[in-house]
Amino acid sequence: MVEENIPDEQSEEDKTKFLFIMKKSPHGSTYPQEGLEVILIMAAYDQTINVLFTDDGVFCLKKGQDTKGIKVKDFSATFKVLEQYGIEHMYVDRQSLEDRGLKESDLLTGVELVDSEEMREFIREQDVILPF
């Protein structure tokens, strides 16, 4: 009989902590869409993944984007389903939102508003930061 050598499931502490920082507007460059693709790829590796939307990155989550006229894919819908891919939290910087005249109700659901002060320790604790 072949002995199966299945590694124990990684404990939460052993997982690498990834933070994606989305700080660019959705249709001014390809960064946010590429970031989203990397998030989806990384989600397959069972590590700890969080996303922070700050600066113009908060525009990625604006409801009601209609990109038919500029003939590009509306990838904002994909942000809504990230939770189902095992992404832990989608944080949105409150100050960035207010600076841009947006309210929480303007955004797609499933996000958590945070203050940059709250995020300072959190950022320090991360193993890998990926900016998009």
Partner: protein, 97 residues
């Protein structure tokens, strides 16, 4: 965590938003056009000086020299490429690009 900024603070809000996220003990490295944030007498100087009460700000010497910047905010530390490598080796990096 080492925060890095490479864009001019007069074109983007990167430096400003980076300063909001920097925890007290995290250093910041300015390089490429980010070094314009280190110039004395600019409109961003008060913001940079305020941040320097809590954090160390480095500027990459080669980029400073390339741009002819000779009047930097007092307390900004210059590092060369070797120093850049040392900083990156010592810290995780949060590129604020």
């Amino acid at each position: 965590m080492l925060f890095t900024v490479n864009k001019s603070p007069f074109i983007t809000g990167n430096l400003k938003s980076c300063l909001r996220y920097v925890a007290k003990c995290c250093p910041i490295l300015l390089y490429e056009d980010g070094v314009y944030g280190a110039v004395a007498g600019s409109t961003v100087e008060p913001m940079v000086k305020e941040a320097m009460k809590n954090v160390t700000i480095y500027a990459l010497k080669e980029d400073v020299n390339a741009r002819g910047l000779n009047n930097l905010i007092e307390g900004i530390k210059l590092v060369d490429y070797d120093g850049f490598v040392d900083l990156v080796a010592e810290h995780n990096v949060c590129p604020w690009i």
